[in-house]
């Protein structure tokens, strides 16, 4: 992907990322977040991570954001009484200061010299030989197999937790 498109999608991601915290309406925020994630998926693809870009669209922009929108809709959060929720001026100043300090720190960190472990273009050539999924799937089922299996336990725990927290209490409970 050309560098021009890279900048287009990156600015799309940042503009709509900022729109998430600027928008007053939670539904507008969630939709901005979807656009931001789509821009991010395009960036992943331009960095030779096609599989990650695709699951970014499917899992994040698809599944997770649908859950968010579903909860916003369920709780009727577009209501005007819920909309004025930004904190006061003091908090905004603190947030601005923290943001600038954090940005400076991360910039200082990212200016550190990076010695590449693999030659440039290695991932792109690997994708050409073996396809898009194989370069990620190989390490996932070899070196990271234990982590992969533990992830399934994590997901099970999350499902049980969500059902317990979100499920109805005893019938006599007013809540």
């Amino acid at each position: 992907m050309s560098s021009f498109l890279f900048w287009i999608f990156a600015s799309l991601m940042l503009i709509f990322g900022a729109a998430v915290i600027i928008n007053r309406n939670p539904v507008a925020s969630a939709l901005s977040l979807v656009v931001s994630f789509l821009g991010l998926a395009a960036l992943f693809m331009s960095l030779d991570a096609f599989f990650i870009g695709i699951i970014q669209v499917l899992v994040y922009a698809g599944a997770i954001m649908v859950v968010f929108l579903f909860v916003i809709m369920l709780l009727n959060l577009g209501h005007p009484s819920e909309i004025a929720d930004a904190r006061g001026r003091g908090w905004k100043l603190v947030a601005g200061a923290v943001g600038i300090a954090l940005l400076a720190q991360i910039f200082a960190l990212t200016r550190a010299h990076v010695t590449p472990r693999i030659e440039p273009g290695y991932l792109a050539r690997q994708i050409e030989y073996t396809g898009v999924v194989a370069p990620v799937a190989g390490p996932l089922f070899k070196e990271y197999l234990l982590a992969f299996e533990v992830t399934s336990v994590l997901l099970l725990a999350a499902i049980v937790g969500a059902v317990v927290l979100g499920g109805r209490r005893a019938p006599t409970d007013a809540g």
């Binding site: 890279f6 991010l40 968010f68 709780l75 943001g99 954090l102 940005l103 969500a162 809540g175």
Partner: protein, 97 residues
């Protein structure tokens, strides 16, 4: 591409932090946390270009954890709404003493 990606990732992460600090709506705070997770994912993918494909595998795990976190977190928000009829974090001060 690496330097630009790290730059964008830093900006996106900072947007997320500022959102968490300035908003009171629990759902929007939650979305800002997702924004921060994605900024870190961008860093992982960018570094996977120079350090090998392990970064992309890690992004896979981060996405799984984010999905689990979204499910549990939104369930907590629903439970909160049931008790308090609001998701405004200013009204949720039970631990303040």
């Amino acid at each position: 591409m690496l330097a630009e990606s790290l730059f964008f990732s830093a900006v996106l992460f900072t947007i997320g932090v500022v959102g968490v600090l300035t908003r009171r709506n629990a759902i929007i705070v939650f979305m800002c946390v997702e924004l921060m997770l994605n900024a870190v994912n961008l860093t992982f993918v960018a570094f996977s270009q120079v350090y090998g494909v392990g970064g992309q595998v890690f992004v896979f795990f981060v996405m799984t954890v984010a999905a689990a976190e979204a499910a549990v977190g939104l369930a907590i928000i629903i439970a909160l709404f049931r008790h308090r009829q609001t998701v405004n974090l200013q009204n949720v001060n039970l631990l303040k003493g």
